[in-house]
């Protein structure tokens, strides 16, 4: 039943999605083009309201694009029902049927497609084993922990062996520790299944650690696509520069850091306190975190964060310092378009 001729590439071409009519129309996704290669783990990253979930839902078939085309494999799927798209989706809240056992939940997609009872049970068992759920198959979601429920949702998705997995913030309902563990497991799952995954999150740590590629979005627009390293080291826009990285990159107003008419950005770990030369600033706050120290300074009204090793000398609050950064670590952006100016 798959239209995907074996290759699970997802192509979004100039996709736009608006809701509402006339004066009240809102554009959730604005002219976004993305290619997700076969076996990619593509992360759609951005703050809430940026359109990433809407984009995901369009790929899954829960929404139809207002403009543009979506291709899965070679097939244009704009008006094709999810049933025919060979896409599986994992929801943020897992969407497990409360009245069915874990096993019945996992079997459901197969049941819908008319698989025989034996066939379903066998495949469900395999999926459950892959996720360590064999002991819990008889329980209902109400009797499972959050982490277990999440795995049931995953098992239900993989049992169909779909071409594409769509995941909508599947980890955000888990506590921090569990989140960390599950992240690793998901990466492993991706490798084992050889699957194409489209993954939505607002958490940049997830994006950086799990994805093969990251697509950063803001307010419906695609800001940048690249590998995690690319978006970190060479952000295309001020938004990407400040969204990725904790603490965020210091993007300083025109003329502050250099004599130019550009915005200059330097990451806290690349910002140095120099003995001589550089931009004058006053130390406002020092945060000693144990493994590193953050020195928060005020440079002519702009807040600048400097990150240094725990061993480095710690300045006093109120002390006057000089800030400098190596040329290689300076990012420049056009003050109007906020886009990167290539050196």
């Amino acid at each position: 039943m798959t239209y995907c001729s074996g290759v699970a590439q997802v192509r979004l071409e100039h996709v736009t999605k608006s809701f509402g009519e006339g004066d009240e129309a809102t554009t959730a996704v604005d002219d976004v083009s993305i290619v997700v290669e076969d076996r990619d783990f593509m992360i759609l990253l951005g703050p809430s309201g940026c359109g990433k979930s809407t984009l995901l839902r369009m790929v899954a078939g829960l929404e139809t694009p207002t403009l543009g085309e979506i291709y899965i494999g070679d097939v244009k799927v704009n008006n094709i029902e999810p049933k025919m798209r060979d896409v599986a989706m994992v929801f943020q809240s897992y969407a497990l049927y409360p009245h069915k056992t874990a096993q019945a939940n996992i079997e459901f997609p197969l049941k819908v497609r008319g698989a025989s009872k034996a066939d379903r049970a066998a495949k469900a068992k395999t999926a459950a084993e892959a996720l360590g759920l064999t002991e819990y198959l008889d329980r209902k979601p109400g009797q499972l922990s959050g982490g277990q429920r999440q795995r049931v949702a995953l098992a239900r998705a993989i049992v169909r062996q779909p071409a594409v997995f769509c995941m909508d913030e599947p980890l955000s309902n888990l506590d921090a520790k569990l989140r960390g563990e599950t992240r690793a497991e998901l990466v492993d799952l991706h490798r084992r299944l050889d699957a194409t995954i489209l993954y939505v999150t607002h958490d940049q740590v997830e994006a950086m650690t799990m994805g093969t590629r990251v697509a950063v979005m803001s307010r419906g627009h695609l800001q940048q696509i690249g590998t995690p390293h690319e978006v970190y080291a060479k952000p295309e826009t001020v938004f990407v520069a400040t969204f990725i990285g904790t603490p965020p990159m210091n993007v300083m107003p025109v003329g502050l850091f250099e004599r130019s008419d550009e915005l200059v950005g330097v990451r806290p770990e690349h910002m140095e306190l120099s003995a001589n030369g550089g931009v004058p600033a006053t130390v406002r706050m020092v945060e000693q975190l144990g493994h590193e120290t953050l020195v928060i300074c005020d440079a002519a009204g702009t807040r600048v964060v400097v990150r240094q090793d725990a061993e480095a000398p710690v300045p006093e609050i109120g002390e006057d310092v000089n800030l400098t950064a190596a040329e290689a670590y300076r990012h420049r952006f056009d003050p109007v378009t906020e886009r990167r100016i290539s050196a």
């Binding site: 599986a88 969407a95 497990l96 049927y97 409360p98 819908v112 169909r160």
Partner: protein
């Protein structure tokens, strides 16, 4: 220990009004009815003869009571499943974000504004053989509508009462089920949809199971209403049509105009207590029976 007694006066003061009213007009009748139930009295309610506890069995076994019970069960069997199915059907039909859907929802809820008396009278007139509209429109298909009229034909009288009752309860069922539908998380439908489930599959795998508790509640309410049917009988058929009297329900047996036990407070109590017991058993059975299949959420 002292603190508990300290709030006692206030508590009693606050509870007194309710407790007294409930005590005098609910609990006392319950107890006293059981006592009266083994008496047989004359028209004035005095000069009672003690029939013993066996009177309960006698009345239960009597032809009149069995007949009334049979009729009442018949009414319930007609009104509850159909009423539920229609209520669910309408609720699902109207559960869409279409333009103007509010109007349709109001229409489907409208029968909740009718009292039993009003609804019964509406159907009484509607079913009159000579001037009623339903006979006028459909007597080609169903000759019985005019000859002798649905309410006067022993076979169709109770179904006609059932029709009136189903219509009257439609608004209530619709409102309750619609509210329950709002509580079903949209993501369950979306997940089923992405997995390839069509409309009917979604209905049986998501909607119906999630409606479980509400269906139970509604069915209990509708069944209780059916077993308490009095006004509709009084207004639609007067307990007839004679001589079979297929519409005489248990409640009508107790209170109706042509009731046999009208003036014997003893027998009235016996029947009333028996009705109470039947209702208890019903509620119990329904809760147990449906409860197994009902899911109460995670």
């Amino acid at each position: 220990m002292k603190r508990r007694w300290r709030q006692f006066p206030v508590a009693i003061g606050m509870l007194a009004p309710s407790a007294i009213i409930l005590g005098v007009f609910v609990v006392y009748p319950l107890i006293h009815s059981i006592q009266l139930g083994h008496l047989r009295c004359d028209a004035t309610g005095t000069r009672c003869r003690d029939g013993g506890w066996i009177q309960y069995v006698d009345v239960f076994r009597s032809n009149e009571f069995q007949h009334a019970l049979f009729n009442t069960i018949g009414l319930a069997l007609m009104t509850v499943p159909i009423g539920l199915a229609l209520g669910i059907g309408l609720a699902v039909l109207a559960d869409k974000h279409l333009r103007g859907i509010g109007f349709f929802r109001t229409v489907f809820s409208s029968t909740v504004a009718t009292s039993v008396a009003v609804a019964s009278l509406i159907f009484f007139v509607l079913l009159q053989p000579e001037v009623g509209l339903l006979p006028h429109l459909f007597h080609g298909l169903f000759p019985v509508l005019k000859d002798p009229g649905l309410l006067r034909d022993p076979t169709t009288a109770m179904p006609a009462v059932a029709l009136s009752s189903i219509w009257a309860s439609l608004g209530f069922t619709f409102i309750v089920i619609t509210a329950a539908l709002q509580g079903i998380p949209r993501e369950l439908y979306e997940s089923a949809f992405v997995d390839g489930a069509g409309g009917w599959t979604r209905f049986t795998n998501v909607t119906l199971p999630m409606l479980g508790p509400t269906i139970l509640f509604t069915s209990v309410v509708l069944t209780t209403r059916a077993f308490q049917a009095y006004a509709e009988i009084a207004l639609l058929t007067g307990g007839g049509p004679d001589p079979e009297r297929p519409t005489q329900t248990v409640a009508y047996l107790i209170y109706g105009q042509n009731s046999l036990v009208k003036n014997d407070i003893g027998l009235k109590s016996t029947s009333a207590v028996l009705l109470f017991l039947v209702l208890l058993v019903l509620a119990f059975v329904q809760f147990r029976g449906l409860d197994k299949r009902v899911h109460y959420g995670s």
